[in-house]
Symmetry: C2
Amino acid sequence: MSSTLADGVTIGDLGEIALIDRIRHRVPPAPGWVTTGIGDDAAVIEPARGTLDVVTTDTLVEGIHFERSFVSAADLGHKTLAVNLSDLAAMGATPRCVVLSLVLPATMAAADLDMLVDGMLTLAGRHQVALVGGNITRSSGPLVLGMTAIGALRRRHVLTRTGGRPGDELWVTGTLGGAAAGLACLLRDPAGPAEGDGDLAGCVEHYRRPEPRVRIGTLLGRNRAAHAAIDLSDGLADGLRHLTQACGVGAVIDGAAVPIDEGARRWFETQGLAPLDAAVAGGDDYELLVAVSRAHRRRFAAVTRLARGVPITHIGELTKDRALVLRTREGDRALPAGYEHFKTQEAGGRRQETGEA
Amino acid sequence: MSSTLADGVTIGDLGEIALIDRIRHRVPPAPGWVTTGIGDDAAVIEPARGTLDVVTTDTLVEGIHFERSFVSAADLGHKTLAVNLSDLAAMGATPRCVVLSLVLPATMAAADLDMLVDGMLTLAGRHQVALVGGNITRSSGPLVLGMTAIGALRRRHVLTRTGGRPGDELWVTGTLGGAAAGLACLLRDPAGPAEGDGDLAGCVEHYRRPEPRVRIGTLLGRNRAAHAAIDLSDGLADGLRHLTQACGVGAVIDGAAVPIDEGARRWFETQGLAPLDAAVAGGDDYELLVAVSRAHRRRFAAVTRLARGVPITHIGELTKDRALVLRTREGDRALPAGYEHFKTQEAGGRRQETGEA
């Protein structure tokens, strides 16, 4: 059906059935454990034997979490799935399926819907995630992308936020600050960085297409290598605050150890910003912060060896004292605040993550 | 925390943690099968033994599915859950838990959030549904309420849309047209019907607080009493069209048998509308349409006896001929079209239901 449509057709031009068909024709055949997929009142799924269900939901709102002027529809499809997979990874769960809720402005090009779905399905294919249902609503307001993801894990492999203990080492995957630099760059110039600016191009890509740490999260769960984990959707400062509150502990972060994205570091410096503070406060990196017992160091080392090139860096410790301390060469100071972005309207907006499922 | 807040506090005045606390303090303790509930990256749930997972998602958008001028926050909380439970019921599933995605205008009163959650939890309590997670986003656009519901059923109890065969009897629960009359009344006068107008008051209540047919749906599944089922979120005409398309059949509906809400019938007549056509086309009733094999009449009769006063009415048959025929005293004619509301902007808006999970 989609192939016969002229360019420039909008969501408002198409009826419900045509829109669903457009999506359905792009979705690969469902795996055998999907008993009833797209097209009924609900999807029916066979749980994986011996596992628990892990459920998370996340919503991206135009004007708050993104601007259509500087992210493509394909980026949005990718990101909607990525933020949900990141939450599953932080629980140690293997993702299985998603349902998608689209609230679409009637003026949106139908071709953008195709690209959005394709962007999502490309990432879904890499992680063997099935799109099993959803709903579509027309709106006169902003584009709203809602998704619920369901994963599976064995009972003893659950990675909660609450298990961290004083003395546990804090480790973080990947690098920090790249997405924040990319977003700051796009807010200044929606066209993106100048040609040849590899530093910023990498940061912008990091912001547009975050890579959820699915493999590391499931490895951490399966190997029971961590006491606690959280994903850094809203940055290290915010994530550490949530994790330490949930555990009833404090933390000391070694500023020199924080793995700042190199391109972001150079860019922050040219802007007169302190790279460490910017990287600690900045969001959208979707890395994992993990609390590891010293007794589990060997298990954890085994996981890091299987991480396929993703760096995992020791950045600090959980402490009995409930303060959050940033240790630098100039001395100890309080960890910079993360975003409390619900209260403060900011240019370009920020994602609001409740920390709930 | 909520008790210390002054009247008139808005969503924009509160930070993320305060908003989550407001919700969390209203939610009753989770059942034992919820291993990790509100407050982590995702919820963890133990599947019911021997069952499949049933997953559905639905989103209500201000200006499309409702106007805040004529439904209360508590109504919205009720309705967001009801539309999802209705989808589960149409699959024969027993609801278990939900995750809630709130996109809230910063100007919304915090007290309205409380009422919204309470309206939802009241209905949830009646059906033993646990709220296990969600997320909150601030928005400068319309209020958007997204929910994903998860239910359980045994493999052989799944009630799909696709199992109907020519010769199957068509039955419908409850009465039709009440919600459409209620909505039409509210669109004219958001204050609702005049005092003492019991007919319209019932219709408005029907629109504001639809009752999902959870018990009948699960009874139909457990007793394997139906070939196919669908919920009538968008009305009989729309639902019958979806069901017959999925089954590859047609249908004849006996106009005289269609159970029109009595208050709605009288109101439609005063408006110069044909009650039958209005009731067949009108949406928002959330009744179930069921195709029953003549061979299963006894099983089906047993279910109707257990339906606790909810009428279930025989309104027609599935046919080999793929036409959809409305049989009246004046002769046969084509079934009125349901809403194709995605393409046509209407006053007050209409819900857009994809028919996917």
